[in-house]
Symmetry: C2
Subunit: 102 residues, 2 copies
Protein backbone atom coordinates (compact mmCIF):
# COMPACT_ATOMS: atom_id res chain seq x y z
CA UNK A 1 0.00 0.00 0.00
CA UNK A 2 2.84 2.38 0.80
CA UNK A 3 4.87 1.56 -2.28
CA UNK A 4 4.23 3.85 -5.19
CA UNK A 5 2.56 6.40 -2.96
CA UNK A 6 1.34 9.50 -4.73
CA UNK A 7 -0.30 12.66 -3.48
CA UNK A 8 -3.60 11.44 -4.87
CA UNK A 9 -3.63 8.54 -2.40
CA UNK A 10 -6.44 8.73 0.11
CA UNK A 11 -4.64 9.69 3.30
CA UNK A 12 -7.45 8.27 5.40
CA UNK A 13 -6.05 4.88 4.33
CA UNK A 14 -2.64 5.37 5.97
CA UNK A 15 -2.59 2.89 8.81
CA UNK A 16 -0.42 2.99 11.90
CA UNK A 17 0.67 -0.61 11.30
CA UNK A 18 1.48 0.18 7.68
CA UNK A 19 3.63 3.17 8.52
CA UNK A 20 5.41 1.32 11.33
CA UNK A 21 6.20 -1.47 8.86
CA UNK A 22 7.36 1.03 6.26
CA UNK A 23 9.82 2.50 8.78
CA UNK A 24 10.91 -1.02 9.69
CA UNK A 25 11.49 -2.01 6.07
CA UNK A 26 13.50 1.12 5.32
CA UNK A 27 15.49 1.66 8.51
CA UNK A 28 15.19 -1.09 11.13
CA UNK A 29 18.38 -2.99 10.39
CA UNK A 30 20.51 0.11 11.03
CA UNK A 31 18.21 1.23 13.87
CA UNK A 32 18.75 -2.07 15.71
CA UNK A 33 22.52 -1.80 15.35
CA UNK A 34 22.37 1.70 16.88
CA UNK A 35 20.29 0.38 19.80
CA UNK A 36 17.71 2.00 22.06
CA UNK A 37 19.82 4.50 24.07
CA UNK A 38 21.39 6.18 21.04
CA UNK A 39 18.11 6.02 19.13
CA UNK A 40 16.43 7.74 22.05
CA UNK A 41 18.95 10.60 21.67
CA UNK A 42 17.87 11.00 18.03
CA UNK A 43 14.23 10.87 19.09
CA UNK A 44 14.74 13.60 21.70
CA UNK A 45 16.57 15.74 19.15
CA UNK A 46 13.38 15.57 17.04
CA UNK A 47 11.27 16.45 20.08
CA UNK A 48 13.44 19.53 20.51
CA UNK A 49 12.96 20.46 16.87
CA UNK A 50 9.20 20.06 17.34
CA UNK A 51 9.36 22.46 20.30
CA UNK A 52 11.25 24.97 18.17
CA UNK A 53 8.71 24.62 15.37
CA UNK A 54 5.76 25.03 17.76
CA UNK A 55 7.38 28.32 18.74
CA UNK A 56 7.68 29.59 15.17
CA UNK A 57 5.37 30.55 12.30
CA UNK A 58 6.80 28.13 9.74
CA UNK A 59 3.85 25.80 9.11
CA UNK A 60 5.69 23.57 6.62
CA UNK A 61 8.50 22.99 9.11
CA UNK A 62 6.01 22.32 11.91
CA UNK A 63 4.32 19.66 9.81
CA UNK A 64 7.70 18.10 9.01
CA UNK A 65 8.72 17.96 12.68
CA UNK A 66 5.49 16.16 13.61
CA UNK A 67 6.27 13.61 10.89
CA UNK A 68 9.83 13.16 12.17
CA UNK A 69 8.69 12.59 15.76
CA UNK A 70 6.20 9.91 14.74
CA UNK A 71 8.81 8.27 12.47
CA UNK A 72 11.35 8.07 15.31
CA UNK A 73 8.64 6.80 17.65
CA UNK A 74 8.03 4.01 15.12
CA UNK A 75 11.76 3.30 15.13
CA UNK A 76 11.86 3.05 18.93
CA UNK A 77 8.81 0.77 18.80
CA UNK A 78 10.36 -1.41 16.08
CA UNK A 79 13.63 -2.04 17.88
CA UNK A 80 11.73 -2.76 21.11
CA UNK A 81 9.25 -5.14 19.43
CA UNK A 82 6.23 -2.99 20.24
CA UNK A 83 3.17 -3.09 17.95
CA UNK A 84 1.96 0.52 18.08
CA UNK A 85 -1.52 -0.20 16.74
CA UNK A 86 -2.02 -2.92 19.35
CA UNK A 87 -0.67 -0.63 22.08
CA UNK A 88 -3.07 2.14 21.08
CA UNK A 89 -6.01 -0.23 20.86
CA UNK A 90 -5.37 -1.67 24.31
CA UNK A 91 -4.94 1.72 26.02
CA UNK A 92 -7.40 3.92 24.14
CA UNK A 93 -9.91 1.86 22.19
CA UNK A 94 -11.09 -0.60 24.80
CA UNK A 95 -14.10 -0.49 27.06
CA UNK A 96 -12.79 2.25 29.39
CA UNK A 97 -10.46 4.69 27.61
CA UNK A 98 -8.80 7.35 29.80
CA UNK A 99 -11.14 10.16 30.83
CA UNK A 100 -10.27 13.86 30.81
CA UNK A 101 -6.62 14.59 30.19
CA UNK A 102 -5.86 10.93 29.34
CA UNK B 1 -14.70 2.47 12.80
CA UNK B 2 -13.27 3.26 16.21
CA UNK B 3 -16.58 3.07 18.00
CA UNK B 4 -17.39 -0.30 19.39
CA UNK B 5 -13.80 -1.45 19.10
CA UNK B 6 -13.19 -4.99 20.24
CA UNK B 7 -10.05 -7.05 20.52
CA UNK B 8 -11.12 -9.03 17.49
CA UNK B 9 -10.86 -5.95 15.29
CA UNK B 10 -8.17 -6.16 12.64
CA UNK B 11 -5.51 -3.80 13.97
CA UNK B 12 -4.08 -3.36 10.51
CA UNK B 13 -7.18 -1.22 9.88
CA UNK B 14 -6.33 1.42 12.51
CA UNK B 15 -5.53 4.54 10.53
CA UNK B 16 -3.48 7.51 11.67
CA UNK B 17 -6.25 9.89 10.58
CA UNK B 18 -8.85 7.80 12.43
CA UNK B 19 -6.91 7.78 15.68
CA UNK B 20 -6.13 11.50 15.43
CA UNK B 21 -9.86 12.18 14.97
CA UNK B 22 -10.72 9.87 17.86
CA UNK B 23 -8.40 11.87 20.12
CA UNK B 24 -9.94 15.07 18.78
CA UNK B 25 -13.50 13.89 19.41
CA UNK B 26 -12.71 12.81 22.96
CA UNK B 27 -10.31 15.46 24.20
CA UNK B 28 -9.75 18.39 21.82
CA UNK B 29 -12.10 20.90 23.42
CA UNK B 30 -10.25 20.69 26.75
CA UNK B 31 -6.89 20.36 24.99
CA UNK B 32 -7.44 23.64 23.13
CA UNK B 33 -8.36 25.43 26.34
CA UNK B 34 -5.11 24.20 27.91
CA UNK B 35 -3.14 25.47 24.92
CA UNK B 36 0.13 24.35 23.34
CA UNK B 37 2.72 25.25 26.04
CA UNK B 38 0.95 23.44 28.88
CA UNK B 39 0.03 20.55 26.59
CA UNK B 40 3.71 20.28 25.65
CA UNK B 41 4.51 19.82 29.36
CA UNK B 42 2.09 16.89 29.49
CA UNK B 43 3.63 15.48 26.32
CA UNK B 44 7.15 15.70 27.76
CA UNK B 45 5.96 14.03 30.95
CA UNK B 46 4.87 11.08 28.78
CA UNK B 47 8.24 11.11 26.98
CA UNK B 48 9.88 10.80 30.40
CA UNK B 49 7.63 7.89 31.29
CA UNK B 50 8.59 6.24 27.99
CA UNK B 51 12.27 6.65 28.90
CA UNK B 52 11.62 5.03 32.28
CA UNK B 53 9.74 2.17 30.64
CA UNK B 54 12.49 1.62 28.05
CA UNK B 55 14.82 1.20 31.03
CA UNK B 56 12.65 -1.43 32.75
CA UNK B 57 11.44 -4.96 32.06
CA UNK B 58 7.71 -4.21 32.32
CA UNK B 59 6.52 -4.91 28.78
CA UNK B 60 2.88 -3.99 29.45
CA UNK B 61 3.91 -0.61 30.84
CA UNK B 62 6.28 -0.04 27.90
CA UNK B 63 3.45 -0.67 25.47
CA UNK B 64 1.20 1.72 27.39
CA UNK B 65 3.80 4.49 27.36
CA UNK B 66 4.19 4.22 23.59
CA UNK B 67 0.40 4.59 23.29
CA UNK B 68 0.40 7.64 25.58
CA UNK B 69 3.15 9.39 23.61
CA UNK B 70 1.33 8.93 20.31
CA UNK B 71 -1.96 10.07 21.89
CA UNK B 72 -0.38 13.28 23.20
CA UNK B 73 1.33 13.80 19.84
CA UNK B 74 -2.15 13.61 18.27
CA UNK B 75 -3.35 16.18 20.80
CA UNK B 76 -0.51 18.57 19.96
CA UNK B 77 -1.26 18.07 16.27
CA UNK B 78 -4.99 18.66 16.79
CA UNK B 79 -4.63 21.94 18.64
CA UNK B 80 -2.09 23.14 16.06
CA UNK B 81 -4.26 22.12 13.09
CA UNK B 82 -1.73 19.61 11.75
CA UNK B 83 -2.95 16.60 9.75
CA UNK B 84 -0.52 13.87 10.85
CA UNK B 85 -1.27 11.52 7.95
CA UNK B 86 -0.65 14.32 5.45
CA UNK B 87 2.53 15.34 7.28
CA UNK B 88 3.85 11.77 7.18
CA UNK B 89 2.93 11.33 3.54
CA UNK B 90 4.71 14.51 2.51
CA UNK B 91 7.89 13.77 4.45
CA UNK B 92 8.20 9.99 4.15
CA UNK B 93 6.00 8.62 1.40
CA UNK B 94 6.91 10.88 -1.50
CA UNK B 95 9.40 10.34 -4.29
CA UNK B 96 12.51 10.90 -2.14
CA UNK B 97 12.02 9.80 1.46
CA UNK B 98 14.93 10.44 3.85
CA UNK B 99 17.86 8.06 3.40
CA UNK B 100 19.78 6.37 6.22
CA UNK B 101 18.96 7.69 9.66
CA UNK B 102 16.03 9.75 8.34
Amino acid sequence: MLNGYHAAMDLTDLTIAGFQKYISDRYERVDRQRGTPKTFLWFIEEIGELATALNSDDRANLEEEFADVIAWLCTLANINDIDLAAAIARKYLGESPPEGHK
